[in-house]
C-alpha cells in the first residue's frame, strides 16, 4: 500500500485517503469537477469551486455556496428564460420570486428601473421591443436593462425635446405613442404627447396627467396638450444653438452627439415641431425682438414667475417655432423672457404688461397676501386660478401664503418681473426668500425680488424664521437694505436678485448684530437680534410665544444649555478661540483677541455638584506634569519618485503615524502615600518569595546535607550490626521455621547416592561471598559430610577460584570437625572455568570431557581414573547425582537451566541464590514440573539450612545472625522513619502551597 506524506504535519497516510488522518489537511489537490453539463444525471453534482459532491437538485453548493450550474450573467438578462417563473439575481445568482423587485439575498435590483417605469405607466409587456422600433433599440433584445439609455442615445423620440441633439433645423421625431419609459414629469420636456393621461381633477380641459404643482403653475393645459413636442421646449432651452429660423423639413438626420443647447446658435424656423435642443431665446442673438413668443410656448411656470405678459397664442417668436428669444438673444421683452427669470428681477427694458391675475399661482397668491381676486377664467397653471408657474404674482392675493409670508408681496403688481440678467426690479418685486437673505438692491430699479417686494414686516415673517430670532431688519449681510453697496461693485445678476455686495471683507465678523440673517441670528449669538413677531403660516408649529421668545441678544435656552463650562486654565496653553459668526472670518485658534465664551452657560451647571475624586484616584494624579510641547506639524515632505514627484502634501508610503516613536511628553511622577508604598513593597516581596520557592535547593546545602545523611545512616547501621554481635549475642534467635524450598533442598541432599559425584557451579564473584558463602558452605558441608564427591565449575573467571577456596576450607573444617579426610582429586575436584556463557554451558552439557582436560590448577587430568577416579564414570550431566547452582544473579541460573535441562533430566538441580535474585528464580521452583527442586536463598536460607542440617557450632550464617538481624532491624526502622518524614514534609509543603 502506497503511502502519502502529509505536507502539513509530515506524517504518512495511506494513499486511498484524501484527508490526513492526523491533521485533516488535504493530501491530494482539489481537481476541477466536471462541467455541469457533464455532471452525472444521477444524484451527485460536483462543485467546481471546492470539488465536493452535492445533490443534483441543489442549485448552490452546500459547502461553499457557489452556484453549481453555470450562470448566464448577462447584463439585463431577464429571468424567465432560465428559471421559469423565478427571477435570477444578476449579482449573486440566486433565484427570486417573479414578483420581487429586489433580490432577497443580496438586495440587488432584479429589474432595471426603466423596465419598472415602463410597466407602471403603460402596463408594458415583458417582451422586449424589436430593434429599431421607436421604443426599442438595436440591443433591446439582448440588454433590455440598457434600453432606457439606448433610447436616449439612439432614438429621438425617446428623448425629451430639450435634449434633442439633432442637426440644425431638424425636428425631433414625434413619438407615435407616448413612450412607456418616459416618466410623466419628463414628458413635457421631451416633446412627447402624454399618453392619455388621466384628467387632473378639476381640469376642465382634460389636460395631460401632470402633477398638480405643475398644473397649478402652468399654464394652460391646452397648450401642453395640443402643442407639438417642440412646443413644450422652453424657450430658453429651445433657443440654445438654434438660429431663429426654422429648420427645414428636409434637414439631414440629426446628429445626436452634441446637445443643441451646446451648439452654436443656429437659425431656427418657427414650425409646429421645433427641433430639440434649440437654444433658448435668452442665450441666442436677438433676431426678431418684435416677435413675442406665443403665450402657449412659454411655460406657465416661467411665465408666471417672470411676469411675462400672458399673450395669446401668436406666431412663433424668432428663436423657436412658437416664439421666444433665440439663444443668446437678450430677451427684448418680458414676453420673451421666461417668467422665472423675469421674476428674478431681470425684466427687460420694456416692461410688459403684468400677467393676469389668473396666472398667478395660488401658492404665490396666497402667500403674498395679495388680494384674492376673483378668477374668471381658468388660471394658466392651476384650477384654482392661481398664477401660472413662473408668473409673478401681480397682487398679493395671487401670491401664495408662504411666499407672501416671506415678505414677497408684490409691491408693483403691474410691473413685470425682470428677466434673468436684466436690471433688477425694485425691491418690491424681490421674492421674499431673496429679500430675506438681505439682497435687497440699493436702488429700487436695480434689483427686484423675484417673488415680491421688500421683505414684509416681521409680522408677516414665517414662524420658523422668526423663531430663529432673526428679524428681517437684523439679518446681516443678506438683509435688504436701502443702503446697499454701490451698484458697480455688484454683478447684475446678483443685483437683480437684490443681493448687494458685502461691504466687509470676507471672513470678517459682522460688526453689528443685525448683520446676521434671521435664521442665523436665531442660532444664538447673543448679539443676534431678537426676532419680531412671527406671522408664519406655520405658526401653529413654529410660533413661539412672545414671553418665551428670547430677548434680543439672548441665546435660546436649548442652545445656551449646550454651552460648555469654562475650561480649566492650563498654564501655557493657548487661549481658546473666541466664538464668531459663521459667516465671519475664522479666527486663529491661538488668537486671543476676544475672551472665550463658555459653551455651556453657567446657568446650566447650577444644579450640578462638583464630583469628588476618590482618594485612590487622586493618588494617581500626576503631580509633576510637564507641559507637553508638541511641535506643530509641518509637512516638508516632498515626493521624489513617481508621478507625484515634486509635490508636497503627498501621503507618504510609510506615514509617520506607523513609525514607532517615543512620546515627547516627559515622565510624570506619581503621588504615592506611605501606606501605598508599603503595600507595593509587600507585594514585591511576595512575588520575590514565590520566585525563590521555585528555585531548586542551593548546591551548597546539598553538599552538606548528603554526606551528613550518609554518615548518619552508616553509623546507625554499623552500630546496629556491631552492637548485637558484640554485646547482644543471641538477641535475635535463630530461625526455627524452615522454608519449604530450603527443606526440599535439604531433603534432596540428604537422599543423594554417594556413588555419583555432585556438580557444584560457583557462579559468583568474590564480592558476593559475604552473602553466598554461608549458604554454599552449608550445602557443600552437608554434601561432604555425607561423603559425596564434588566437582566444581564456574562460568565466571573468578568463580572457579572462589569454588576452590570453599572446597579447601570446608575440607579442612570437615576434617577438624568430624575427622573425615576429604582429599582433593579424590573427593572433590575443581574443573575450572567454562568460557562462552550459554554456548559453553551447552558444550559442557553435551560433552563435559570435551571442555576440560585438566582441572582448574592444570596439574591433574580430570578424566584420568587414577588421578580423579570420581570423575571417571562421568560422561555427561546425567552422570551427576545433583547439580548445585550457586549464583548471585538470576541470569546464570536461567542459563544453566535452559542449556542443561535436556541433558540433565536425571540430575536434579538445587539453586543457592542471593536474596535479590530469589523473585526471578522462584518461578523455576514453582513450575510444574519444577525445574528446580530446592532453593536456599541468601543468609536467611543459609541459617535455616544450617539449622536443618544441624551443623555443629552453627555455621557462618548462624554466627552472623545477630549482626545481620540488627542490621536488618535498623534498616527497617530507617526505611519506615524516612518514609514518614518524607510524607510529612510533602504534606507540609502542600499545605503551605495551598495557603
Amino acid at each position: 500500500m502506497a503511502v502519502i506524506r502529509c505536507q502539513a504535519c509530515g506524517k504518512p497516510n495511506p494513499d486511498f485517503l484524501d484527508v490526513c488522518q492526523y491533521c485533516d489537511a488535504r493530501l491530494k489537490p482539489l481537481e476541477a469537477g466536471p462541467a455541469p453539463e457533464a455532471a452525472p444525471a444521477g444524484d451527485v453534482i460536483r462543485c467546481q469551486a471546492c470539488g465536493k459532491p452535492n445533490p443534483a437538485f441543489t442549485e448552490v453548493c452546500q459547502f461553499c455556496d457557489s452556484p453549481l450550474k453555470p450562470q448566464l450573467f448577462g447584463f439585463g438578462e431577464t429571468t424567465s428564460a432560465e428559471a421559469g417563473d423565478q427571477i435570477r439575481c444578476q449579482s449573486c445568482g440566486r433565484l427570486n420570486p417573479p414578483f420581487a423587485e429586489a433580490c432577497q439575498y443580496c438586495e440587488a435590483r432584479l429589474r432595471p428601473l426603466q423596465e419598472i417605469a415602463g410597466d407602471e405607466t403603460a402596463g408594458a409587456t415583458a417582451a422586449p421591443e424589436p430593434p429599431g422600433s421607436p421604443g426599442g433599440g438595436p440591443e433591446s433584445g439582448a440588454q433590455p436593462g440598457m434600453e432606457w439609455m439606448r433610447r436616449l442615445s439612439t432614438e429621438p423620440s425617446a428623448e425629451p425635446d430639450w435634449m434633442w441633439t439633432g442637426a440644425a433645423g431638424e425636428e425631433p421625431e414625434p413619438a407615435a405613442a407616448p413612450s412607456e419609459e418616459t416618466p410623466d414629469w419628463m414628458r413635457p420636456f421631451g416633446g412627447e404627447q402624454p399618453a392619455q393621461p388621466a384628467e387632473p381633477p378639476g381640469s376642465p380641459e382634460g389636460g395631460p396627467a401632470m402633477p398638480d404643482w405643475m398644473s397649478s403653475l402652468g399654464g394652460e393645459p391646452t397648450r401642453m396638450e395640443t402643442a407639438a413636442p417642440a412646443e413644450e421646449v422652453p424657450d430658453w432651452l429651445r433657443s440654445f444653438g438654434e438660429p431663429p429660423s426654422q429648420p427645414t423639413p428636409s434637414a439631414p438626420a440629426p446628429s445626436r452627439d452634441i446637445p443643441e443647447w451646446l451648439r452654436p446658435p443656429e437659425s431656427s424656423e418657427a414650425e409646429a415641431a421645433a427641433p430639440l435642443g434649440e437654444t433658448p431665446d435668452w442665450l441666442s442673438t436677438p433676431a426678431q425682438p418684435e416677435a413675442a413668443p406665443p403665450a402657449e410656448e412659454v411655460l406657465d411656470w416661467m411665465r408666471s414667475s417672470g411676469g411675462a405678459p400672458a399673450q395669446p397664442a401668436e406666431a412663433a417668436p424668432p428663436g423657436s417655432p412658437e416664439g421666444g428669444p433665440a439663444f443668446g438673444a437678450e430677451p427684448t421683452s418680458a414676453a420673451e423672457m421666461p417668467d422665472w427669470l423675469s421674476a428674478l428681477g431681470g425684466a427687460p427694458a420694456q416692461p410688459e404688461a403684468a400677467l393676469p391675475a389668473e396666472e398667478v399661482p395660488d401658492w404665490m397668491r396666497s402667500s403674498g397676501g395679495a388680494p384674492a381676486e376673483p378668477v374668471e377664467t381658468a388660471p394658466p397653471g392651476s384650477p384654482e386660478g392661481g398664477p401660472a408657474f413662473g408668473a409673478e404674482p401681480t397682487s398679493a392675493a395671487e401670491m401664495p401664503d408662504w411666499l407672501s409670508a416671506l415678505g414677497g408681496a408684490p409691491a408693483q403688481p403691474a410691473e413685470a418681473a425682470p428677466a434673468f440678467g436684466a436690471e433688477p426690479t425694485p425691491a418690491a418685486e424681490m421674492p421674499d426668500w431673496l429679500s430675506a437673505l438681505g439682497g435687497a438692491p440699493a436702488q429700487p430699479a436695480e434689483a427686484a425680488p423675484a417673488f415680491g417686494a421688500e421683505p414684509t414686516p416681521a409680522a408677516e415673517m414665517p414662524d420658523w424664521l422668526s423663531a430663529l430670532g432673526g428679524a428681517p431688519a437684523d439679518v446681516g449681510g443678506f438683509e435688504t437694505r436701502p443702503e446697499a453697496a454701490p451698484a458697480d461693485e455688484t454683478p447684475d445678476w446678483l443685483r437683480s436678485m437684490g443681493i448687494s455686495a458685502p461691504t466687509e471683507p470676507v471672513g470678517a465678523p459682522p460688526e453689528a448684530a443685525e448683520a446676521a440673517p434671521d435664521w442665523l441670528s436665531g442660532l444664538g449669538a447673543p448679539r443676534f437680534a431678537a426676532p419680531a413677531e412671527p406671522t408664519s403660516p406655520f405658526g401653529a408649529f413654529t410660533e413661539i410665544p412672545a414671553e418665551a421668545a428670547p430677548a434680543a441678544g439672548e441665546m435660546p435656552d436649548w442652545l445656551s444649555s449646550l454651552q460648555p463650562a469654562t475650561p480649566p486654565e492650563v498654564p501655557g496653553a493657548p487661549e481658546p478661540a473666541p466664538a464668531s459668526s459663521l459667516f465671519g472670518a475664522m479666527p486663529s485658534p491661538f488668537a486671543a483677541e476676544e475672551t472665550p465664551t463658555p459653551l455651556v452657560p453657567p446657568a446650566a451647571t447650577a444644579g450640578l455638584a462638583l464630583g469628588e475624586m476618590p482618594t485612590w484616584l487622586q493618588s494617581m494624579r500626576p503631580v509633576d506634569v510637564q507641559p507637553s510641547r508638541v511641535p506643530p506639524e509641518v509637512d516638508n515632505y516632498e515626493e521624489k519618485v513617481g508621478i507625484l514627484a515634486g509635490m508636497r502634501g503627498v501621503l507618504q508610503a510609510e506615514p509617520a503615524i506607523a513609525k514607532p516613536h517615543k512620546s515627547e511628553v516627559p515622565v510624570q511622577k506619581l503621588e504615592v502615600s506611605e501606606a501605598e508604598a508599603a503595600q507595593a513593597t509587600l507585594l514585591a516581596g511576595v512575588l520575590k518569595a514565590e520566585a525563590e520557592e521555585a528555585r531548586p535547593v542551593s548546591k551548597r546545602r546539598l553538599q552538606i546535607a548528603l554526606p551528613v545523611e550518609r554518615w548518619l545512616v552508616f553509623a546507625a547501621l554499623a552500630l546496629a550490626v556491631i552492637f548485637p554481635w558484640f554485646f547482644a549475642a543471641g538477641f535475635f534467635p535463630a530461625p526455627t521455621t524452615i522454608a519449604r524450598e530450603t527443606n526440599a533442598a535439604f531433603e534432596l541432599v540428604e537422599g543423594l547416592p554417594t556413588d555419583k559425584p555432585v556438580l557444584v557451579a560457583f557462579d559468583y564473584d568474590p564480592a558476593q561471598r559475604g552473602e553466598l558463602d554461608p549458604a554454599a558452605q552449608a550445602v557443600i558441608f552437608h554434601l561432604m559430610r555425607r561423603g559425596v564427591s564434588l566437582a566444581g565449575v564456574s562460568t565466571h573467571p573468578a568463580g572457579a577460584g572462589v569454588g576452590q577456596d570453599i572446597f579447601n576450607e570446608l575440607a579442612l573444617g570437615l576434617k577438624n570437625a568430624y575427622g573425615v579426610s576429604y582429599t582433593y582429586g579424590v573427593n572433590y575436584i575443581n574443573l575450572g572455568y567454562i568460557p562462552g556463557g550459554p554456548v559453553g554451558l551447552l558444550q559442557f552439557a553435551t560433552n563435559p570431557r570435551s571442555l576440560f582436560n585438566t582441572d582448574f590448577s592444570g596439574a591433574m587430568r580430570v578424566w584420568d581414573a587414577q588421578s580423579a577416579p570420581e570423575m571417571s564414570p562421568v560422561y555427561g550431566l546425567s552422570d551427576f547425582s545433583l547439580i548445585v547452582l550457586v549464583s548471585s544473579t538470576p541470569d546464570a541460573i536461567r542459563a544453566w537451566i535452559e542449556q542443561t535441562q535436556s541433558f540433565a533430566a536425571a540430575a536434579p538441580v538445587v539453586a543457592v541464590v542471593s536474596a535479590g535474585a530469589d523473585p526471578l528464580v522462584r518461578p523455576y521452583y514453582e513450575a510444574n514440573p519444577p525445574q528446580i527442586k530446592g532453593m536456599v536463598t541468601g543468609i536467611v536460607g543459609a541459617a535455616q539450612y544450617e539449622q536443618r542440617a544441624g551443623l555443629p557450632g552453627g555455621g557462618p550464617a548462624s554466627n552472623r545472625w545477630d549482626a545481620i538481624g540488627g542490621g536488618v532491624l535498623a534498616a527497617v526502622i530507617l526505611i519506615i522513619a524516612g518514609n514518614l518524614l518524607g510524607a510529612l514534609a510533602r504534606m507540609t509543603v502542600l499545605r503551605a502551597r495551598k495557603r
Binding site: C9, G858, I897, E898
Partner: protein
C-alpha cells in the same frame, strides 16, 4: 620482617583496603579510588590468567604446540587440530577488529564477531524457548479448583488465581499497541488499561521484593566485612 607480620600482611591489607572503601562516605577520594583501581585491576588480571590457562592454552594453543613439537604430520593430526585451528583463526580475526575503520582487516574481524553473535543468539533463543517459555506457560495452566489429597483446597485456589491473574496482568502491562491520535498522547485501549494497572502492581511488588533482597544482601556483606575486620583487628587489640 617478622613472620607473624608477614603472615598477617594479607589481613592487614584486607583491613586497609576495606577502610579505604569505607572512606567513600566522605565522598570520592584517592583512597577509595586506589582501592577500586586495585580491585578492578586484580580482577581483570586474574580473569586473563584464568582464560589463558583454562581455555586458550589447553584448548587451542596447547594442542597446536604439542603437535608441532612432537613433529606429528599435519595431515594426520588435522582432524584433531581442526577445531583448534578454526578457533585460532577466528581469534586472530577478532584481534583485527582493533584495526581502523573500514579497512579489509576490520572486515575480517567482523567475521568472527558475526560468528560469535550468531551462535550465541541461537543458543540463547533456543534455550529460552525450551527452557523458560514453554515450561512457564505450562506452569501457568493451573486449575482454579485444585484438588489435593484432602479434597478441594481454597488456599491453593487463591494461590492459583493469583498466579494466573498476576501472570496475565504482568503480560498485559507490556501491551504497547496504543493508537496514535492527533492532538492526544498515545494511550492503551480501554480494555487494556485496567489489566495493565494490575500488572503494574505485580511488577511493583516483584521489584520491591528484589529490592528487599538486595538490601538484605548488602547488609550481609556489611556485616561480613565488619566481622572480618574485627577478626583481623582483634589480635592486635589483645583479644581472642
Amino acid at each position: 620482617m617478622p613472620a607473624a607480620l608477614l603472615q598477617s600482611l594479607p589481613d592487614i591489607m584486607v583491613f586497609a583496603l576495606t577502610l579505604m572503601v569505607f572512606t567513600y562516605l566522605l565522598g570520592d577520594n584517592p583512597l577509595y579510588r586506589l582501592a577500586v583501581h586495585l580491585f578492578v585491576g586484580v580482577t581483570a588480571g586474574y580473569a586473563v590468567l584464568v582464560a589463558y590457562y583454562n581455555v586458550i592454552h589447553p584448548q587451542m594453543l596447547g594442542p597446536l604446540v604439542v603437535s608441532l613439537s612432537q613433529g606429528l604430520a599435519v595431515l594426520t593430526a588435522l582432524p584433531t587440530l581442526l577445531p583448534a585451528l578454526f578457533a585460532l583463526m577466528l581469534s586472530l580475526f577478532l584481534l583485527l577488529k582493533l584495526s581502523p575503520g573500514a579497512s579489509w582487516t576490520n572486515r575480517l574481524g567482523s567475521v568472527a564477531t558475526a560468528y560469535l553473535v550468531g551462535v550465541g543468539s541461537a543458543v540463547a533463543i533456543g534455550g529460552a524457548i525450551t527452557g523458560t517459555l514453554f515450561p512457564q506457560i505450562n506452569a501457568t495452566f493451573l486449575s482454579l479448583l485444585p484438588q489435593t489429597e484432602l479434597g478441594f483446597s481454597p488456599e491453593r485456589m487463591v494461590d492459583h488465581f493469583v498466579i494466573i491473574f498476576g501472570t496475565l496482568a504482568t503480560l498485559g502491562f507490556f501491551y504497547y499497541g496504543a493508537r496514535v491520535r492527533p492532538g492526544r498522547p498515545p494511550e492503551r485501549p480501554p480494555l487494556a488499561r485496567p489489566v495493565a494497572l494490575v500488572g503494574q502492581v505485580f511488577i511493583g511488588v516483584a521489584f520491591g521484593v528484589m529490592y528487599a533482597g538486595a538490601l538484605v544482601a548488602s547488609l550481609a556483606f556489611f556485616a561480613d566485612r565488619l566481622v572480618a575486620m574485627w577478626s583481623i583487628l582483634e589480635p592486635f587489640l589483645g583479644g581472642g
